[in-house]
Each structure stands twice: as C-alpha cells, then as structure tokens.
Symmetry: C2
Subunit: 373 residues, 2 copies
C-alpha cells in the first residue's frame, strides 16, 4: 500500500520568478537524505522537499513530486536504500525479506515506466551480490548503487543529446522542434532525453524554437518543459496539444522529439498520453518523429507495445485545473496516462549508444554493451 | 471598434446543479431585447444576460458570451436590429449609412465563422428590399428577419440531425460517437449541428456514448458539450484532446461528428482548433469523420480552405485556466482558434438537405434550394 498523502518538509521554497537555475537536478542526495524538487509546484514555485523514508519516497513517486521515467528509477533506487536503512533486523535472510517488501511497495507506485522496475532490480541484485558482507556493508552498497544509477543517467542523457544531433534533419535554417510532456532534466538525473537532444541542438547553434505541447491533463509541457527552457534562455512557444497538426500543416515544425517510459523489443514506445496522436499527425506531414531514451527504457522481455500496461490516473486530473472545475456533475471520465506509438511511426530511437531505426534495437539486447566513456 | 468589456445585467443566475433544462436556447428575444445564456459561465453557473444595444451585442460575440457559428449569426442579426433601433435620423440614406456602420462593427467581432457575415448580409438585404417603406417599417422588417433566421436555424438543425442518421455507420451495437468543441444547442438556435446528429441518434435509440474532447484552450467540450448532454441524460465521457487517437486504437469510437465555422466550395472545413488533428487520426484508424453544418456555413466564394482567415485569440487562453497560471514568465504563445480540415479527410458533410461527400457540395450552390418543410 502506497500512502496518498505526504507531510512535506520543505527545505527551500521561493517564487520561481526570483531565480534562474543553471543546472537542474530533480533528485539530490544531501545530508543523509534525498532532496527532491517538488515538480507539482512548478512553475509557480521552486520548492525542495526532504525525503528520508522509503514510504515517503513511494508517495513522492505516486503523487508525481518526482516524475519522468529515468528520474523515477533514480528516486526508487534511493528509496531502496532508505528502506534498507529502516530495517532493524540483524538476520540477513530477514533483511532480504524485508528489502523485498520495500521493493514491492516501490514497484506499486507507477505501472508503466520500466526504469522503475529496472532500477529496483539492479539495486536488489547488487545487494544480493554483496550478500557475503556485513549488513552495514550491504546497505552501503545499496547507496553507492543508487548514486551510480544517478551518475550514469546524467552521462547517458548527455550522450543521448549528442547522438541526437546526428539524426536531426539538416535544414538550411535553424530547427523548430516540437516536444510533448517533459522529457527534460526534471525527468532524469539532469539534462534530459528529448530535452537533452534539444539542449545539444541549442548548444550547437542549430535550434530556432522549441514548441511545447502543454500536455493535458497534468500540463507537464506547459509547466515543466517551458520552465526548463526559460531557465536556459532557450526560445519556447507553448501550444495546446490539439494545435500540433495545424502547426505542422503551416510548416512551423521540422522535427518531433519525445521521451519514452517503456520501449518494447520491436520498437513500440509507450510515452505520455498524446504521443501516439502526435506521431500520427507527424507522419501525415512527413515530419520525422524521434524517441529519445536510455537503453534502460527498453524492455526486451516484451515483444510488442501491446503488452505494456497503461496506467489510468484519477479523473480529477481532467475534472479540474487548480480550483477551476471544468465539467458539470454527471459526466464520466477516461484518463489514461500513457499511450503506445507503434514502431512504424518512429524514424529513430535515440539512445546513448546511437540512434537506430526501431527495427534495429536487438543489437542492444546483450550484456556486452560498452559502458559510456 | 468593438469594446472589450461589458457591464453585464443578469436577469437570472443560478448554480447549474440546481436545475435541469429540457430545451436549450442560447439567444432569446424577450421584452424588446435579446437575452443570452452567458456561455462563459457554464457549467458552474447558468446565467442570462440582457443585451439591448448593438455594441453590447458586438462585445458579447467577441468575448464569447455567445459562440458557435450559427448562434453568432442569429445574435448578429438581432444586433443589426438593435443597431437600427438606435439610429435617430429621419433621413433614409443616412439611416442606411449608419446601418452599414453597425454591420461593420458586428463583422469585426469574429473573422472565421461565415454565418456571421451571411446573417448580416441577409438582414441588410431585406432592409434594402423594404427601402420604399417607412423607417419604422424597415426596422420592423429587420427584427422579423432576425426572428426568421433564428426559427429557420432551429428547423435546419433538426433536419441536420435526422439526415445525419442516414450516414452514421450501421453497427450491431449502439454507437460511440466522438465530438470536438461544442456544436450543440448552445452553438445554434437550439438542438445543434454535430450534437443535433447525436441528439437524433439518442432519440432513435442508436447511441451508447458521447466522447467529448475537452477542447483546449477554451474547453467548450468539457464545459458546454458535457453540460448539454447531462441536461438530457445522454451518457458522456470527457477526455483530453490528446486521448482521442488512443481511444480510436482501442476501438472505443465508431464515428466522429463535428461542426464547422466555414466550409469552402471544395469541402475543406474550418472548425475549432484540433478538428484537423482529429480528422487525421480518425483517417489513420478508418473511422468515418463527419462535418455537420447548415448550408449557410458553406462559402461558395472560396475555392479552398486555404483562403479561410484563421482567428488568433489572446495568449491568456493558454497561459491560465481560471486563476491558475500554467506557464512560467518568458514563454511565447501561439493560439489559433480554428484550423482547416481538408475535404479528403471528411466522409460526408451533413446538411439540412442531406449528407453528401465534400466533392458534391456544388449541387447546393444555387438559389433554387428548396426551403425546409
């Protein structure tokens, strides 16, 4: 059972208009606890919240204080360490039993992002591999694994950004890139996947404008992607989700780059609801559609995207925005949080080891992938 | 110049949860003035506002107190009478000069809906045709023409609803119909165009569910279409605009029916932003896409939809919902209110004289269209 409410302990809280942040790290290890940027409060407020128990971490993931597939993975890895720290037994078998309980609680938070399960499994494996050591030692290994996942993700995102530059269309003018939801620094250790490609394009002086789908119902595009771009002075235009096709028809968009929460072996990609619609309209206008994601997002156990579980979230996300109620009483709601874009609508999947057509993902399905330098 | 603010005089105002309305008429002639349902206050509040001057009517149209192409036409026709009533001259030439000024002001309110221009031109023509009579007489003709436009529109919508039944797909189960924005009773004299087809399907016991796109940025689907359906007990499910393609993939939708603000001679149809996107994703799933509109929506002077002017509205519509600000400072906005769906994405245009493929609209381009019985 994941609790639904969290008594937030804010470390620091300010109006965002009063600061510019050069580097955005949503998950931080500080003073023996995790400090998260509370992403539900952006862009109005920039707030950090202390998390020092595994159950608080589960709540933070479930309530989307931390969100974005890679960031969820990192947060869950730290959550595993926080959980291990809470276990009081001296018995090693009992310790691992209780650690499995922590893993179970954390796995229940969000069903779609595979990085969550990947990170928990990796942390569990390193703990078991260190099983001959003392409990103190095993706990230290858990913490260092969480830190390693975080460090690697940052390097991975920077590599994804650079590899993305190799496949973005070569246009005489600078690029206008549309993105959906937030696959940015906030969704990762930092730098971002889709926004990593956009950041690299900006640094390479190849970017004219980011178009940010607002991304109903939770508005991560309007709130988070726009905020990240503004922090770094990247020009960004907010549009409603239903405007993308019209913008494409008017030749305002050169490429679409989005993130992913889980990619099946055949290249079908689950991402924020609305991604599939965007892929279809991009295809209708011959605009290349890219998915940027680390290899940890690929779930080779799934043959196709049809097997990816789609989280349904609370109807209240559609029913109201802030305190404004949008619909009358008596209406039903359908609120899927993700959809699946079929491989054939994807020009390339941009990973840290290169951008490949979705049909060529199998080359990454081995233990022999070289580590990033 | 159309003023931006209006000192509203509310005749009647109540929480909508306290009433059920069996017949919805957005524009009413009562006690020598126009009484409008204030559509900006639905669904939270059901309020009527008195309009007794042409400039107030222009403001009501511009600020979307009254909206929807046919309803705008009706409101503008009454606005022409209100304007005529304000003219104090006894000189007939001067009267017509001033009446042209009223027409100019009303035409400036919304650029896309052709019904606005059609209704103003029709009222002007009947006034000129009655030019031999007294000014009192001419003014009476203006009022009776506005009333006639309203009465005819109600009959037209009922006919559109019935003709729509002839082309909706024949399915073993009852239909699940997706609609966008509000092309309902509120957008017309009553009954609606797209929602007219849906109402007729409901009465014919052929309807299982309406899916209502919420229709960002102004949310007319969530607010108005859902409200209309709830009033009549028609089952309705609200979804975010970006969910439609996913619903289609899951085979939750049998047909799409939308309204139109202007249709070119070749069948290209301008309608609320997001309609084009919806047409593309419906086509990708082989789901029939229908446009329901009266013949007065067809602008035979325009060869194709490329010539239709697209209104851009205030960025604040994207920037915030109610009092909740969605984006950080420093973001740009693009807020087109309409888009154009190409004829080839439309299965049929449902008019009061029958549903035809977009390529066969020319048959209606003559003065010989029979009046509805």
């Amino acid at each position: 059972m994941v609790p639904n409410a969290l008594c937030l302990r804010y470390k620091f809280k300010t109006q965002t208009s009063k600061l510019k942040i050069s580097m955005i790290y949503p998950v931080n290890w500080q003073d023996d606890r995790v400090v998260l940027i509370d992403q539900t409060r952006l862009p109005a407020e920039y707030a950090w919240v202390d998390i020092d128990s595994s159950s608080d971490m589960a709540t933070a993931i479930k309530t989307m204080i931390v969100r974005g597939a890679p960031a969820i993975g990192i947060a869950a890895a730290y959550g595993m360490y926080l959980g291990a720290r809470e276990i009081e037994t001296e018995d090693k078998d009992e310790f691992f039993n209780q650690l499995e309980e922590v893993a179970r609680m954390l796995r229940q938070t969000r069903p779609t992002a595979v990085n969550l399960f990947w990170a928990i499994d990796r942390v569990l494996k390193t703990a078991r591999d260190a099983g001959n050591g003392t409990l103190e030692n095993i706990k230290a290994v858990l913490l260092s694994t969480a830190k390693a996942i975080q460090t690697e993700d940052l390097q991975t995102c920077q590599a994804i950004g650079d590899r993305g530059l190799e496949v973005l269309p070569a246009t005489p003018e600078k690029l206008r890139i549309l993105t959906h939801c937030n696959a940015g620094a906030l969704a990762t250790a930092g730098y971002g996947t889709a926004l990593g490609v956009i950041r690299s394009a900006w640094k390479a002086n190849r970017l004219a404008m980011v178009y940010a789908d607002e991304t109903r119902p939770r508005l991560q595009g309007a709130k988070l992607t726009c905020w990240e771009c503004v922090q770094e002075g990247i020009p960004v235009t907010a549009i409603a989700d239903n405007m993308a096709a019209h913008c494409m028809k008017l030749k305002m968009i050169d490429a679409v780059v989005v993130g992913a929460d889980r990619i099946a072996a055949n290249g079908d990609a689950a991402n924020k609801i609305g991604t599939y619609s965007l892929a279809l309209v991009a295809k209708a206008h011959n605009i290349p559609f890219f998915v940027a994601a680390p290899l940890s997002t690929i779930d080779f156990k799934l043959a196709t995207g049809e097997e990816i579980p789609i989280e349904e979230r609370d109807p209240s996300e559609i029913y109201k925005v802030g305190n404004t109620i949008l619909t009358p009483d008596g209406v039903e709601f359908y609120n899927p949080a993700f959809d699946v874009t079929p491989a054939e609508a994807i020009a390339a999947i941009i990973t840290e080891h290169g951008a490949v057509p979705p049909g060529e993902l199998a080359q990454f399905n081995s233990g022999s992938i070289p580590a990033l330098k």
